[in-house]
């Protein structure tokens, strides 16, 4: 019975891991890049002046002036304050009626209060949205990723049950031994970063739980879903519009109150509900770089008189606090660059675990004389192809003409086109030579990126390194490291083949 149970769990583990595995690899890799979403957004806009110190009062005034000028008829404004990681003001507006778009997002240069004069790009948002939305219409991508995350959770649980010598094999890695090495790598990457894998998978599901399992909210709140999100501490619910015009308070005049309440912490975002209406509300939210939980402290002001109304989140009950904490941990915006790098490395370990598992699945069957052409082609197309596609995105960002129409979307197109070419190559040749070709191709693309960066911008390594411009220098060094890693993998696959041939 016990033997049968373990065997059933092993069977479940291999299928729950294999079927969504190719997608999970991509989600882990692009999700890891998303820890540096603001930095990527900055790197992809090399025209921006770097190192601009922001002055919160001035930035708020500039944003309010811009929104008053361009969108006085909007029903809601959102001002995202410039941060050290991305020194730009994000302004978003929503309109329910009247002329103009119903939703608009702009990035302002905080000093001029005008939209930035930089190349059109999705920047870090491209990878961020890909990792849970897959750039698919409706909610299709989120549903597919949710199904895969659920399978991942099952694979983690069954993996723990199947992996008998969890502690005995903790540090074990025996390279150059075919499937045995892939099993070691799979186990090591899984066990060493196990807390991360469980946290990231579970919190990812929790973040989108109202999409995956809306039935509890539907049953108890009916159509008034906004009330649930307000009670759960996720959204602020403004009072209905009064319909009487009234001037909006000077937002900058509220900043000293925020500074007094949050000593040492910056204002992260300012929501304005009903600007120009007598019932307007202004919500200040603290920046998200100093705290773990996403239950960020808020200050709610009357939007006309500017009086402080309340701070509701201080009384947030336990379950809502837990949900906000899981949300904050998944996003990983706290703790500074070192912690972001740790999250990034843990995410890479997740991708490595999935990748090694996929290679183990086909490798073990090939050693037993079975070939699975589709699985083998998909392995190469995803593990070899995705790094090529990521490099292609950064290449496209530097090479596409700045004035090109629909430029931002075409960068994304280059990502998918490169991935498709790699996929076709993988479908045609699935042998060890094809793996080496793709790894070498990715290595070449990454290693040449610093050169391209130096030729097309004024931020090349010879400039950025002496100037201490760690953003651009860091990216170039990371590209070199990534290219080196890819080159190492291509060498490794050659050596492995020789050993197997012997």
């Amino acid at each position: 019975m016990r033997h049968g149970f373990r065997q059933a769990m092993a069977l479940l583990h291999s299928w729950a891991g294999l079927v969504p595995g190719w997608l999970l690899f991509a989600v882990f890799l692009t999700g890891s890049l998303s820890y540096f979403r603001p930095e990527i957004s900055q790197w992809t806009r090399p025209e921006l002046p770097s190192g601009a110190m922001s002055d919160p009062g001035r930035d708020v005034r500039a944003a309010q002036d811009y929104l008053t000028r361009t969108a006085p008829d909007a029903t809601r404004w959102l001002i995202e304050m410039p941060l050290a990681r991305l020194p730009l003001t994000g302004v978003t507006l929503w309109r329910e009626r009247g002329a103009g778009p119903h939703y608009r997002h702009d990035l302002l240069d905080p000093r001029q209060g005008m939209p930035i004069a930089a190349r059109a790009t999705h920047g870090g948002d491209f990878f961020y949205y890909f990792h849970f939305d897959l750039h698919m219409p409706w909610r299709l991508g989120r549903l597919i990723v949710g199904f895969s995350a659920m399978a991942m959770l099952v694979a983690l649980l069954t993996g723990l049950i199947v992996h008998r010598r969890l502690f005995a094999d903790f540090f074990t890695f025996r390279p150059g031994k075919g499937p045995r090495s892939w099993l070691d790598a799979h186990n090591a990457c899984g066990v060493l970063a196990l807390p991360y894998h469980v946290m990231i998978t579970y919190s990812g599901l929790v973040i989108l739980m109202s999409l995956y399992l809306p039935w509890g909210i539907d049953l108890l709140y009916g159509t008034d879903r906004a009330r649930f999100f307000a009670e759960a501490g996720q959204n602020f619910r403004p009072p209905p519009a009064a319909g009487v015009p009234a001037g909006l308070v000077d937002l900058a005049s509220l900043m000293p109150e925020a500074a007094r309440r949050w000593p040492g912490e910056a204002v992260g975002r300012i929501d304005v509900y009903g600007p120009g209406d007598a019932a307007a509300r202004v919500v200040f939210t603290v920046a998200d770089d100093a705290r773990l939980s996403h239950a960020r402290a808020r200050l709610i002001f009357d939007g006309v008189g500017g009086t402080l109304l309340s701070e509701p989140e201080n009384g947030l009950p336990g379950p809502a606090r837990l949900e906000r904490a899981l949300y904050g941990m998944h996003l990983g915006r706290f703790g500074g660059p070192l912690l972001h790098a740790l999250f990034f490395c843990s995410g890479l370990l997740g991708a490595a675990m999935v990748g090694a598992g996929l290679i183990l699945w086909t490798g073990k069957r090939r050693a037993a004389g079975e070939t699975h052409p589709v699985a083998e082609a998909l392995n190469l197309a995803v593990i070899g192809g995705l790094p090529i596609a990521i490099a292609a995105f950064f290449w496209a960002n530097r090479l596409l003409p700045v004035g090109l129409a629909a430029r931002a979307d075409r960068e994304g197109l280059c990502f998918f086109a490169a991935w498709m070419v790699a996929g076709i190559h993988a479908a045609l040749h699935r042998d060890a030579a094809a793996w080496r070709t793709q790894f070498r191709c990715a290595a070449g693309l990454f290693l040449a990126l610093p050169v391209l960066d130096g030729l097309t911008t004024s931020h090349g390594l010879p400039v950025s390194l002496p100037a201490g411009d760690w953003l651009f220098a860091g990216f170039d060094l990371a590209f070199l490291a990534g290219g080196g890693g890819m080159a190492g993998l291509s060498l490794l696959s050659r050596r492995n083949r020789r050993r197997v041939a012997k």
Partner: protein, 108 residues
Amino acid sequence: MTLLAFALTYGGWWALAAGMARHGGPMLGRGAFPAVLAPVLRATGGGLLVLSFFTAAGEYGWDIGPVAWCGLGSVGAVPLVLMLAWRPALAALPVAPLLAIGWWLSGF
């Protein structure tokens, strides 16, 4: 302080691995693994990991600190696993310099 916490996790993992029958011999550079040392090494390893937990909490606070500690533990074990596969006897080399630099940087 982060580097000190990292050095402590790496050292902790090293001691734990050296206390295991499978890795101890090659790591300590002897033919046979001295069974007497194993419990001492394992206790040292556990103690260093606990120390690194408090170091991380001291640096990042009690909410972010444990998360940072988990991340340091995961990422710190990777070079050790690779060293054990490549040159187990050299895995101990980085421990002392890492601890020294970490100690110095944290300004004790």
